[in-house]
């Protein structure tokens, strides 16, 4: 409760300070993210990470709205933020289908969009834009690393599944790009589905030697619990989304020992990350997730650009963003020519620290990894 009051107060202070120091240096950020309904944990983490990063900046004003994971609402909010709030920068969207609905229109109206999460392939390839920057990953990335990990773990026959929406398709494409074995089965599930009895029965019958799945948020909780409960003992591999801090508690012991791939981990050994992890815990009283780290990095990137140029001078501001001159929680971080991160992707393992389930890094999956769509993007 105190946290909520704090947050309201800090937003209030931000708004109040904007009245006092209304000058040309101010930058207005519109954050559209998922704060209610299924998947709200992701949006809340991105928001909290971002707000933590910009907490001490007097020149940033943030307007936060809830998209309820609905594309039509996200579009309305974006229109409102661009037309009546007159924001300079948009950010916050979690889901790729929402990003596809909002981002192309926003960037073509001369707004910057910094993505703290969704990185659909369409916006990395032919649909790339000079005002669009992705601070998290291109959607395929973590799955590519999972494919690579499946090779090195000696898996030859994998069963793969993901939800039927842009990021799900990118996930399976990414996995298949790196995985050298054969597929025991390939399934697209409904977005938001929580019962996987049908799919688990097919996995059982498929004689696969491993399972790869991309099921973010509550979907992954349901899948992992039911999978563990079904008594199938085929090992699973996945991207970090189903094994991250926000949901590990809900998955429970079923997740223990699972290898997952991530561009970030709580135990990454660099100064920026240590500061982020301890600040986040002090501020919100919980461990940060990878979504929180993405929100935080987005905020830090924005501030680094503001120190170099005014947002009114779009050309210089864009150059400042492109140079990515900030201390990322991931250590090394730079942008490829299509404005997506070049970064290391790690293989993590779910472990228990005391009573708390969390992750530790076991190896580097892909070093200085860029994305497969660079050549398709001409800007």
């Amino acid at each position: 409760m105190l946290k909520i009051i704090n947050l309201i107060l800090s937003i209030g202070l931000l708004l109040a300070s904007s009245l006092v120091f209304a000058d040309g240096h101010k930058l207005k950020v519109g954050m559209i993210t998922t704060l209610s309904g299924g998947g709200s944990g992701l949006g809340i983490d991105v928001r909290d990470g971002f707000m933590l990063a910009v907490k001490d900046s007097k020149d940033i004003e943030v307007v936060i709205e809830d998209d309820q994971r609905k594309p039509d609402i996200a579009v309305q909010l974006a229109d409102k933020m661009i037309q009546s709030e007159k924001v300079d920068v948009l950010t916050g969207i979690i889901w790729s289908n929402l990003a596809m609905a909002v981002v192309p229109a926003a960037v073509s109206q001369g707004k910057f969009y910094l993505s703290p999460n969704a990185g659909p392939s369409a916006l990395a390839g032919k649909g790339c834009h000079e005002n669009y920057f992705n601070v998290a990953w291109q959607n395929d990335n973590l799955h590519e690393a999972a494919g690579g990990h499946a090779n090195s773990a000696g898996f030859k026959n994998t069963f793969i599944l993901a939800p039927n929406y842009p990021a799900g398709k990118d996930a399976l494409t990414g996995f298949k790009r790196y995985f050298k074995g054969s597929l025991a089965g390939e399934i697209y599930t409904k977005l938001g589905q929580t019962d996987y009895a049908v799919e688990i029965a097919q996995i059982r019958a498929s004689k696969a030697d491993s399972v790869f799945f991309f099921l973010p948020g509550g979907m992954g909780i349901g899948f992992m619990k039911q999978y563990a409960q079904s008594g199938i003992e085929i090992p699973v591999v996945g991207p970090a989304f189903s094994f991250d801090q926000g949901i590990l508690k809900a998955v429970g012991e079923a997740a223990l020992g699972v290898k997952n791939t991530s561009q970030w981990s709580k135990d990454l050994d660099n100064k920026a990350n240590k500061k982020f992890v301890s600040d986040f815990q002090n501020e919100y009283g919980r461990l940060p997730s990878l979504y929180a780290s993405q929100g935080y990095d987005t905020g830090k990137l924005l501030m680094s650009a503001m120190n170099k140029a005014s947002v009114k001078d779009m050309g210089s501001f864009r150059e400042a963003l492109r140079s990515a001159d900030f201390d990322s929680t991931r250590g090394q971080f730079s942008f490829s020519s299509n404005h997506h991160p070049i970064q290391d992707i790690y293989v993590r393992e779910v472990i228990k620290e005391g009573d708390i389930l969390t992750n530790k890094i076991v190896s580097v999956g892909l070093k200085d990894h860029s994305n497969a769509y660079v050549s398709q993007c001409s800007m």
């Binding site: 309904g37 299924g38 398709k169 697209y188 599930t189 019962d195 909780i221």
Partner: protein
Amino acid sequence: MTAELLIEQLLNGLQFGFMLFLMSAGLTLIFGVMGLINLAHGSFYMIGAFSAAATFAFFNSFWLSLFASFSCAAVVGVIVEKTIIRKLYNRDHLDQVLVTFALILFFSELIRWIFGAFPLYLDVPKILNGSIEIFGGIYYSKYRLFIIFVGLIIATFLFFLIGKTNLGIQIRAGQYDREMISALGVNISKLYTLLFGIGAALAGLAGALIGTIQSVEVGMGEPILILAFVIIVIGGIGSIKGALIASLLVGLVDTLGRFLIPWVLQTITNPSDAMSIGSAIGSMLIYILMAIILILRPTGLYGKKLS
């Protein structure tokens, strides 16, 4: 495809059907007898799941949390009926929809305020963990069998309640002529409170049973509410028998459709197209089923004939 897989999927369909029955039984009684459109039925499902998760966190007992789920949902149901729903019986359906929709928003925010936005944990008890060999090398999850079993018990209980007891006679009479039975001295407002409580309790129980193997999170009730409405329309409003048959029908059609359609399509196109087309058709299937049934029987399978 093997026979084992097909049988396992049939069982999955049955399990899903019985789960839907727990949701739709309460909804159809409330709609049929009280004439009330209750959109907040999904909220009782969520309340059941959250009270189970909270109890589980305190006492670490699945059985206690199961008990907490339906009793909490029933208590909340009775309070809501006595304070809010009661004022709606004589209003038209639009008012009922508006108020019960507001209740959804209210309960979602309340739960988030109390428990936070992150999903909670509920676990299957040891005795129901893992799977069991049913016959001839066919393994099935013990917990899902348990859900089928609970569904059967509840169905039997409801048929007994409606068919063999005094209360059941009043409920059936209430469906046909509300004014007459109150003229005959039946305390109709007490009957309504009781019915609403039973409906909420069943939804709460369903929430805990499903929350145990899925995730307990805010907004978990809405997707299942839509299915429950589809079921009561297919089954015929007010009919428990209709709700049971429609639940099993929807459960089986949805489960088998999701699994068989892509499999059939694979014979004519490549696997990845077959999968995406198949899953798209699979999710439409129950609505197609509903349309066909409504064309053939406009009041549903066991609905009252239009006079």
